[in-house]
Amino acid sequence: MLPAVGVLAAAAALLVLTAPHVLTIGTWHVHHPRTALTLWFSAFFGGCALALSAVVLLLAAAVSASGVSTAAGGIALTLVAWLSLGLLGVLLGLLLVTAPPLAESHRRAVRSLGPAAISREPRRGFTLVRLRSSTPCACATPGRSAEILVSTALEIVLSPAQLQAVLAHEYAHLRYRHSWAVRIAEINARCLPRHLAAGPKLRQATLRLVELVADDAAARQAGAAHLANALAQMAQLTGDPSLELRAERLTLRRWPPARRCRVPEPIRI
């Protein structure tokens, strides 16, 4: 049983140490964001599963005391097993300490926008909220009472087709549960030791990839040209260079012709 524990632990460590570097080689992930996001999270959950099974096996070995002949060996095994269980407990504690303030901070951010709502329209799966504001902005707030918020300024600067593309982008965030990915990555970054690249790299990759995945979904549903125009328009207004690059990225791929685009029913304007 002990060699198996060693193999599992080594595999988990190898995954934590190498995956962040392997997955950021080259720039393919910019063109295939969905595959990249899937791989990142497979590595994450795979690593968790490996580490957890190593601890379980180690405990089983310690309890049954098989595989060791000497008393000293037995004591060492028991000690290591309980220590690893303790480490797991510490991680769990960190998780419990980190997650609730994060959720509270999310709720506060959402609530601060509440009073500005000028209309709330219940749609299937979310509420479409229009905000009175001179800042052009759109965002999605996940959860049981999911919302897509659009500011009046955005409605003014974008054409209806462009606005439709922005809605499709936000709707993709909600439908693909991107908030969970971002939240898991954030908690992971806070719980892992600082000097490990896996924490910040997973967070960074998740934040980047969910945007690109949502862009791809919106381009398919509402038309790549409309989304690119909306991005370019926003880039001009905000001076954010990443928006222009996202627009440019869309021009590099072939998209289904506009007549085959189908806007999902809940977000149709």
């Binding site: 720039t27 910019v30 063109h31 994060l102 901070s105 999310h106 709720r107 506060r108 951010a109 959402v110 609530r111 601060s112 926008l113 509440g114 009073p115 500005a116 905000l131 009175r132 504001s133 001179s134 800042t135 902005c137 759109a138 965002c139 999605a140 707030t141 996940p142 500011s151 922005v166 982008h169 936000e170 965030h173 909600l174 991107h178 908030s179 971002v182 939240r183 954030e186 960074q204 934040l207 980047r208 969910v210 945007e211 949502a214 926003m234 905000t238 954010d240 260079p241 990443s242 928006l243 690059l245 996202r246 440019e248 990225r249 590099l252």
Partner: protein, 120 residues
């Protein structure tokens, strides 16, 4: 009886103030609050807190004639809180999956690299 979430009453008091064309007393605000009734003293406490935050201006000389008004219009307030909320800590990115502004300088560099690589 429905209870308000933390910070909700502050938002509601501000909402009432934005609707007013001239300074009003705490009693008027109390009457116009939506949802469960709030005690007069609670309204005063909230106004006090909002004044400290610079959201509410107090006027009137004697205690009985004190009137309140919002320091900024609703639109100005939203624009600034919105920017606060959106530009805020990284952990808010999960709360507000924004259309614009979630990518960092590092992401810009990666995108640039990917796009120039593809064009060559």
């Amino acid at each position: 009886m429905g209870r308000r979430a933390r910070g909700e009453l502050e938002a509601q008091v501000l909402g009432v103030l934005w609707e007013q064309s001239e300074p009003v007393s705490a009693g008027v605000i109390q009457e116009q609050l939506p949802g469960p009734a709030a005690a007069y003293t609670t309204v005063l406490t909230v106004l006090d807190r909002l004044e400290k935050k610079g959201e509410v201006l107090r006027s009137g000389d004697s205690p009985r004639k004190v009137r309140f008004r919002a320091a900024r219009s609703g639109d100005e307030h939203t624009s600034s809180t919105m920017i606060d909320a959106l530009d805020g800590a990284r952990d808010r990115q999960a709360a507000l999956l924004q259309f614009a502004g979630n990518l960092s300088d590092g992401d810009v560099a990666v995108l640039q690299q990917a796009l120039t690589g593809k064009k060559r």
